[in-house]
């Protein structure tokens, strides 16, 4: 195997592994976002105001 082929395969392997590592980090970040900041249904403003006035009473 010539050194050119070796270098080529090295860069290609590092490249594809690097992309998978990068994307895996992204995957973990998104999982963390979902876990710690889950979607909560937003309440209409009127309902929200009613809740506030009730709590004040």
């Amino acid at each position: 195997m010539t050194s050119t082929i070796q270098t080529t395969l090295f860069i290609a392997t590092i490249g594809i592994v690097g992309i998978f590592i990068f994307m895996s980090f992204f995957y973990l970040i998104i999982l963390a976002l979902d876990k710690y900041l889950p979607y909560q249904e937003e309440k209409p403003t009127e309902e929200f105001m009613e809740e506030i006035s009730e709590s004040e009473e």
Binding site: I11, A12, I29, L31
Partner: protein, 385 residues
Amino acid sequence: MNTLLSLTDNLRTFWGYTGFANAEIGHIVMILIGLIFIYLAITKEYEPLLLIPIGFGILIGNIPFNEAANLQVGIYEEGSVLNILYQGVVKGWYPPLIFLGIGAMTDFSALIANPKLILIGAAAQFGIFGAYIIALQMGFAPNEAGAIGIIGGADGPTAIFTTSKLAPHLLGAVAISAYSYMALVPVIQPPFMRMLTTKKERVIKMKTPRVVSQTEKVLFPIMGLLLTAFLVPSGLPLLGMLFFGNLLKESGVTRRLAETARGPLIDIVTILLGLTVGASTQATTFLRIESLKVFAIGALSFVIATCAGILFVKLFNLILPKEKKINPLIGNSGVSAVPDSARISQIIGLEYEPSNYLLMHAMGPNVAGVIGSAVAAGILLGFLY
């Protein structure tokens, strides 16, 4: 008699300046290619926003003129208008600005809702590295092979940015190849999608994605930027701008900036980029065997990327529980031709199951492909620049 001689001389000089006197066969071939681009854009609507500026640029760049006359009209003549506009390509200013606009128009919800789809965007980047290996084996230098390989990312701005750094002399061939194949995604991908999937796989229905909170949407580009900065800093010019544009969109408080980025700014830059890339394909620099090789490897890279995305999904499905299986028809969307490749998934999916809407699912790997190809570009630049 003297007046007649002088008039003849003047007419001869004038004739010497005209395109008719300077035209060569190469100019005619390139003008025909430019006209084909314009024809395809108008009649077939293949990427008209890109093919019309590029096609017209090819016409401008190949008008035969007397180069010795120093008319300052050619794109390679220092100080000419085209040459000044071309600096945005040569120095790599235009692609990050386009990424800013893309970020401001991209909704990452599909990806955030189903994050495992991000790995399809990674798998499709096999196209880049496959083409890189093939280009090296065909005798290209490593930096040239890197520039040619990036065609497989199916992302015009990324291809131009990388080539402007690694092999500026291949810019015309790489850019034209990348944009041509992006326009031909509806023709290239479907046969391989059908060939690599079974009827049973094509009708897999995926679960409706969960709702994504606004907080997640705002934090995503910030996290993305930090991750890029720390892991692949050479990808920052592209990914930094992509995430910046996305934050402008999702923050909700910079609507005017987001609208400018995804509207007038990206339109202006697209016009300048398309026109100058087209004009850079002058017959003398473009019509070479080298360019034909670039086109051939470019086509292969698209095929490899499409097949890698689909095969990765099939492989991934082996470990996924039945209710979470992914329809392999969205594997092709890992190439970043947004949104064309996602639309292809939808169209082919509907052919086999009329109630199976794959577009929202396919947008996940599609936007992941944009990120993936920019990361690949960063890695190649890191090694080869």
